[in-house]
Amino acid sequence: MTSQINLRLQHSYSGFALDLDLQLPGKGVTALYGHSGSGKTTCLRCIAGLERASQAYVQINNEVWQDSQRGHFVPVHQRALGYIFQEASLFPHLSVRANLEFGLKRIARQQRRVDLAHATELLGISHLLERAPHNLSGGERQRVGIARALLTSPGLLLMDEPLAALDSQRKGEILPYLERLHAELDIPVLYVSHSQDEVARLADHIVLLSEGKVLASGTIGETLARLDLPLARGDDAGVVIEGKVCDYNLNYQLLTLQLPGSTQRLRVAHASMAIGQRLRVKVQARDISLSLTPAEHSSILNSLRVTVVSETAADNQAHVLIRLDADGTALLARITRYSRDQLGLCVGQTLWAQIKAVAVLA
């Protein structure tokens, strides 16, 4: 295991204690997810060195940034990281171009892996270079902030709720850029968020934080489907599935996705994509209904053969959550307790999950 992030942090401040021990993948997007006050931002700041945790071991892909036992602490400006703050925090006295070049010109030429043209094209800000920061929209500002961080060719990108300060329209404007980042650059990202939608769209791995402690850490597909976590009991509980495109119906504009490791398929309304490409979708627990026989004569497109794995009570007393398995892909269904008893559901039983809606994430 060479590309890995090792974190041990113990940090107390004003009545709050952060205490975590994490091994994270050294590539892809890892979401630090939790309510406000769960310690996710503090965790990110400790990793960056903006906050100095009293007891810490921070190792990013073979580089040790902090080891409090040896008294080792690399100052922030010597760490190869990019940090995106909640507000873009552009320097108001510098033009967009000068903001972008601020970090770029401070790293050695041979270490530059991202150039100005690439970064500005990637984030769609090429036309803004000569502007002053106060003449930009909130979304444009944040895109400049992201490009500015990328231009230091970081070995790790730390993003602290980069979309939280934006309205939903601006969020929608930035998310595609973040996805391109994910797809085109091979930089590991730690992404702090309290939005399940953002996490579902962007993250490969998720760390669930609560009151400074780790509740769970795992792949997004597995973790969102865990019934023992508070995520599953919430109203927008659901799972993320990454399927492979295997067919496209031009007439009805329907894309067919194959579930990983299975012959079962999901159909979603979507623009055409090349066969073999991957598409991430979210299936909400409330959008699944269960039936003992395959549905016929129904308007519901998707019906998967699944087995019941386990069940748990939902936040709402009238509901139960059922975890299902579709040839290795975990699904969550939220149904009424009444229906569960009527169907006589039990663990191991095979039945059909009808999926009313599939939200395309990326």
């Binding site: 940090y83 703050f85 601020f102 401070r106």
Partner: protein, 226 residues
Amino acid sequence: MPLTSADFAAIWLTLQLASLTTVILLIVGTPIALWLAHTRSRLRGPIGAIVALPLVLPPTVIGFYLLLAMGPHGYVGQFTQYLGLGTLTFSFAGLVIGSVIYSMPFVVQPLQNAFTAIGPRPLEVAATLRANPWDTFFTVVLPLARPGFITAAILGFAHTVGEFGVVLMIGGNIPEKTRVVSVQIYDHVEALEYAQAHWLAGAMVVFSFLVLLALYSSRKAQTSWS
């Protein structure tokens, strides 16, 4: 000729004193203001209060203690005598030290306000963009705090020009060494040379008004990009 050569000597001395004091205060006051703006230390309150003391103390009180300290029996005086420099009382150097202390709050407070207004975020951003602390100071803090520096310099300079009590206590009234404009006016009045006093006093009023006019006009213009 309304102004005598003694008047011009006093004006020249005053300008030298105010310029030197302002330069020293900008250099000394900047780290103090930076510390006061960013520290979480418990010493922040006491140090801030000490820096602000000259705002409320009568100049004669400051002058009195400085006179004792810099005199032949004071700690500072003994130290300077040990170095073979003699005592600083009744010397230009003594006046500069007195002025630096006397005008300190007028430089430190505008700077501190400017640094507080910038906040920690731009400094953190600069650090994540590989700028070391010195680099950050010159490329981020200094440009962002420029209005604060202008205000601090103008106030420090103008306040030193207006100094009287401290000068009289520690510098006395030695022509071309410690006799500044305010003391010269006092002398004229004592000698009942009211016409002479009018010229110098009037010049001080005009000068002070122009300085404040420049300050307040520039403030308005500067708020536009923040």
